[in-house]
Structures are given as structure tokens and as C-alpha cells.
């Protein structure tokens, strides 16, 4: 089971822009700790299965799942910082210019 943060509800999630440029994504990614980042990359970019990632990184399957969940969340949070840098706030989110992640 993936780890689940009770705070991870839609109303509490920070917004990110609909369109994100590559540079912003890479900057956000570079701020995610390596242990989470490598799992996110192997799962989301290379689309390796959990089992393949576990074997490649020599970590348990459950650790893959928790790191992936945590890594994705950290990436969303970093991208939300980008949104804030763009001047996007909660009101703007409700206006439909951005969506919660």
C-alpha cells in the first residue's frame, strides 16, 4: 500500500500551472532528494515496474512504493513553488487557471 498523507487532500494541495516548462520541471526535480528522485525517474519516465525498480536499486518492493509516492508528492510541492513564483494563489486556483495536484 502506498503511504498516504491525510493532509494530501485536494483542498489542501498547492496549485501548479497548467503548462510547465522543461526548465521548471528539471529545477523542481533537482530539489527532490536523490533516493526519491531516482525512483520517480525509473517509474514515471522509464516506466519500469515496481519489481524491476526494486531489483535494480536493490531495495524492497514496499520501499519502492513509498519512495515513489513520497517522491511524486515532493515534486508536486516543488512545482507548486513554481506556481507561487508565477504569482498564482489560491484565488487563481479557484478561478480555474490552475489545478490542485
Amino acid at each position: 500500500m502506498d503511504s498516504f498523507d491525510p493532509q494530501d487532500e485536494v483542498a489542501a494541495e498547492p496549485p501548479v500551472p497548467q503548462e510547465i516548462c522543461d526548465e521548471d520541471v528539471l529545477n523542481a526535480l533537482s530539489k527532490v532528494a536523490v533516493e526519491f528522485r531516482e525512483v520517480v525517474l525509473l517509474a514515471d519516465v522509464e516506466e519500469f515496474s515496481y519489481k524491476e525498480i526494486a531489483e535494480t536499486l536493490k531495495i524492497p518492493l514496499g520501499t519502492v512504493m513509498s519512495r515513489l509516492s513520497r517522491g511524486r508528492k515532493l515534486l508536486r510541492q516543488e512545482l507548486a513553488e513554481v506556481a507561487r513564483a508565477y504569482g498564482i494563489n489560491a484565488d487563481a486556483r479557484q478561478g480555474g487557471t490552475v489545478e490542485a495536484i
Binding site: E9, L42, M65
Partner: protein, 307 residues
Amino acid sequence: MKTLSFDSKRCEPVRQNLDSYLSNELLVETVSEVMRHLESCEACSQALESRMRVRDALQRAVASQPVPDSVRADVLRSLRKSQPRSFLHLNTKIWAVGGLAGIALALFSLFGLLWLGLHHGKELVATILKLGVSDHVLCTIKGHNYPEVANPPDEIRKKLGARYAPVVQVVQERLPGFEVLEGHICSPQGNREYVHLITRGQGTIVSVILTKRNGASLPTVKSLLSDESAGLSIYQDHISGMEIAGFESAQYFVFIVSDLSQNEVRQLARGLAPVLNETLRSTALTRLSPLSVSLAVPSNRQWRASR
């Protein structure tokens, strides 16, 4: 104003599964439950949509990053060496390069190494194992080159010649419950020879095939191994409807091919590998013609752990 309603009782179980749903790692039953909920819950539906958007953006961003030439050269050099510890060694190198190129580049170098290593290794394993499946299908299945009643062992040994005769006894002893029906030296299309023993047991036919490596070698990437037996690495695949297990022994690739289950074929390989390895090591087998391993990816290979 748009308001998203979050029902913790209904949404929480779905949120727990959202990452695995996104990675296509849920059981079919759970997928159905998640999908049913998503159809009726706008909040969770938007949460999933946003996650997918971030993932797509990540894929695009990473794809836009070229792997530095120096790193690519390091990776290819390491792969050619095919040393089991080369990954860790190269990871260190990659981070060193990344220190110069920046944190982001280092990350993508690491990622590229893993990607290249695994894919190269997988293709190489599949290419080599496909030789055994091809030999089994052509000679055993389509050619049906074995009798209903087993040929006498002496006759089989005579056909194989003094150099290969010991293999008959090893196969007979190490595959309990299997009877050696036939043994011969095949030469498909006249360009590669292999020793072929055809056995029967557990209601089916199992081929044991030896073909000379001639310098080719299975990769030593740990994650690609299926099993080990007495220090011998065993690789497995499911190709053209057949299960195959293969290992290296002295100058040979040895294949066990059948329509038995993956686990059954693995057990046969485990039982056979150590003794056959010793037999081949102690026998100077030099009669087989050079093996030319094409690195072309087989078109019909199927990976058990398909993504």
C-alpha cells in the same frame, strides 16, 4: 466559485491507491474500484489528472536532456566489459561528471546508465536465449526428430561421438523422471551446430541444447538473473510460447527448452547446471563451428516482466 468535495471515507482508500493506479500496478479488481470512484468523484479525478500532467511534463523534460558524450562513452565501455560491479563503479564516475555539469545532468546520467544497461542486457539475453528456442522449435517440434520409443543410450552416444557422449549420462542422471529419447548434432541452415538431446517426462518434451559461445557471453547484470546454481547464473525467458532457461558453461551456452512452467524449467536448469558445467569443463570440445550471435532484437520475444 468551483468547490471540490473531499469525502475522506470514500476518497481516502482511492488516494492510497492513486500512485499504484498511475503506475498500472494494481490488481484488476482494485482498478475497477478506483475507476468506479473516479467516475463519481471530481476531486479524486482532478487529483489523478494533475498527477498525470506532472508525469507527462517530467517525461518531456527528461527527454529533452541529451546525455553527455563523455557519459555515453563511459556507459558503452562499461557494458562492453560486462562486469557485475561496473554499475556501482560507473555510478561514481557519473556523479563525478555530474559535479561538473551540474546536479541535473548528473541525475540524468545516472538514469541513462540504468536505462542503457538494463535494455542492453535484456536484448542480449533475449537474443542468445532465442537461439535455443529456435533450435528446439525447428528440430523437436516442427521436425519431430525423435522416436516414440527411446533410442538405446549406446546408439545415442555413438551418434554424438566420444566427445559428447558424457553429456548423455549427465542429462539422464540430472533430469530425474525424464528419459533421453534422442541425441544428435544439428546444423540448422548449415551455419551453426549444436548438440541436441531430446528428453520426455512430465507429459511433455524437453530439449537440452549445447552450442558454442565463441566469445559471446550472457550479461552479468544481477537484476536480469533468474536464478543461480553453484555459482552459475541462470537466465530465463518466455519466447514463442516456450519457456527457456540458459546458462554459460565453459565454451558453451546451455539451453533447457520446453512448454513446462517457468518454475519447472528453472528447477531443471538448477539441477543440470553444476554437473554439466563440470563435465564440459573437463572435456575439450572443439568440434562445433563458430557461433555468430546476432545482436538484432528478436521480433517475437516476450518479456515475462513486461511493462
